[in-house]
Amino acid sequence: MNQMSTEGYTTADGRKIGGVMMEMKNITLRFGGVKAITDISFDIREGEIRAIIGPNGAGKSSMLNVISGFYVPQEGEVWFRGAKRPPMKPYQVAQQGIARTFQNIALFEGMSVLDNVMTGRLTHMKSGMLEQAIWKGKAEKEEVENREVVEKIIDFLEIQAIRKTPVARLPYGLKKRVELARALAAEPKLLLLDEPMAGMNVEEKEDMSRFILDVNDEFGTTIALIEHDMGVVMDLSDRVVVMDYGKKIGDGTPDEVRSNQAVIDAYLGVAHD
């Protein structure tokens, strides 16, 4: 693997990875006196699957929340597609083309699966309030076009059978999939997945892994994900950032990370002096 050139690199299975899409520079995030993230830098490249791993409380979710704008870091810079990003609200980040899922699933429970996924298209709908109110041709055409995209994604994730079901009635594994569908509906440039496989059984995990790989492969979507299951992470990701106690302790390909002593210590535990 000819890694880290500015033009990108080619993975073992022959996928072309592009230049840097997102760069985190010296990010520090504090909650009062508690440091959740300390001076972390890493990048995410066009087309890659980038994993953030680490033990519980390592600051992985906080990092994802910084990328998606839910947290604003006290120090450091976020660069997206070659430009420094000013402090933004989460909805503005979403409008920039960064979609996400949540660790504890945040779906619109009262709405149907279809409506949930349709909300993912909101950033692509341009017609104004009055147009919508009087349902002029443009708004209608827009609705139809967006509906087509959504149906494609619903087919892709194999949730056709539950399209009209209220989300509250679905089992956990399917909810996770609907949440992924909603994020995909935005046709994001960068997709953030916060523990997409947490709480799933082996079969559901295999399904989800397959979907993640397929999304990356078919839509060319750049994906950053947080995951606990080391086996899954190593299979899925192109490069891995390892965090522990809010600090970065490793960064590289799965093989590099696996043989990194600091990472082994963090995961297996080591006697502290």
């Binding site: 989460p90 945040a106 619109f108 709405m111 409506d115 950033t123 349902w135 609705e143």
Partner: protein, 328 residues
């Protein structure tokens, strides 16, 4: 047909018309509650405020004239012009949109993630603030509101029913207009919230703030939108009630009648607000008509609340409220 039955039908019809007006106020509650989880106690006062503003603008009154005169020692009350009804309604709508922005900017923006009871208390404060503001801007006297809506008995219905049954029904033209307007408003709002982009965003915000943010919805925008729509509904209700019984403080008390309407219809259902309004309107008129005499009269004062209480016991989510699904 026996006279008693004909009279009962007439009472029912009048009840339906009154119910439509209850429904109009209840509708404003439902809209805000659905989108922000706030039970807006101030909805009734918003109707009063909008109606007073409409009258003030139409008459060319100077807002805050008492205050201005007291401070500057002047004696101005009128600009000396009269604004046509349509233009005045548009201007009033502008004021309501500004109010929506101000309410969000200065009150609810600072109360994000607070307990529902705190939000509720804030709306009580808002109600009294608005009431005071209304008095301060336009004076507290009873005002006549005439935007050119037809008033008085509908001659056609009177004539037709007289020829058919030998007894002419008394239906007020204004009630008919109110009913038609309410029906149109409800259909439009239901379609808007179910099928438009903003409607979907609105329901999304109502359901989960975090998730709504993650799909690119600005919460502020939606809240201002929803308070504006509630302001619009308040204006319509204010015009109807104001034309019927004058613009006065008691108008804001109608809001209390909307409470049992909401308990019946469910706090989250637009059609529920309508059906609930109709049931209460007809129910209280018929009850007064049939049993009122035996119970010492004036049953209209309490009938709605007792009916709502009975409903709460058997169907807490209301007739059309969202089902409470709990996975175990």
């Amino acid at each position: 047909m026996p006279d008693q039955l004909l009279f009962a039908i007439e009472v029912t019809l009048n009840g339906l018309m009154a119910g439509v007006l209850y429904a109009l106020v209840a509708l404003g509650f439902v809209l805000i509650y659905k989108a922000s989880g706030i039970f807006n106690y101030a909805q009734g006062v918003m109707a009063l405020f909008s109606a007073a503003t409409l009258v003030g603008i139409m008459n060319g009154d100077v807002p805050f004239s008492h205050l201005i005169n007291a401070i500057l020692g002047t004696d101005i009350h009128h600009f000396g012009w009269h604004v046509p009804a349509i233009l005045a309604i548009l201007l009033t709508m502008g004021v309501m949109i500004f109010l929506a922005w101000a309410v969000n900017r200065f009150v609810f923006k600072h109360l994000v993630n607070q307990e529902p009871i705190i939000l509720f208390m804030a709306t009580i404060g808002l109600a009294y603030f608005l009431e005071g503001l209304s008095d301060m801007m336009w004076g507290g006297d009873i005002k006549k509101l005439d935007v050119g809506l037809p008033q008085g008995i509908n001659e056609t219905i009177d004539e037709v029913t007289f020829n058919l049954f030998g007894y002419g029904f008394f239906i007020d033209n204004l009630d008919i207009v109110a009913a038609v307007v309410a029906v149109i408003l409800v259909i439009a709002l239901t379609l808007y919230s179910q099928y438009s982009k903003q409607g979907r965003a609105l329901r999304a915000v109502a359901d989960d703030h975090q998730a709504a943010l993650s799909v690119g919805i600005s919460l502020n925008y939606i809240w201002i939108l929803v308070w504006s729509i509630a302001g619009f509904v308040a204006l319509v209700a204010g015009i109807m009630w104001g034309a019927k019984s004058g613009v006065q403080f008691s108008l804001s008390l109608i809001a209390l009648k909307a409470l049992p309407v909401l308990m019946l219809g469910g706090f989250t259902s637009i059609p529920g607000a309508i059906v609930g309004g109709l049931i209460i309107g007809v129910g209280e008129k018929l009850f007064e008509f049939t049993l009122g005499g035996m119970m010492g009269g004036a049953t209209e004062n309490w009938f709605a609340y007792v009916l709502a209480l009975v409903f709460l016991v058997f169907r807490p989510q209301g007739l059309f409220g969202e089902k409470i699904i709990e996975r175990v």
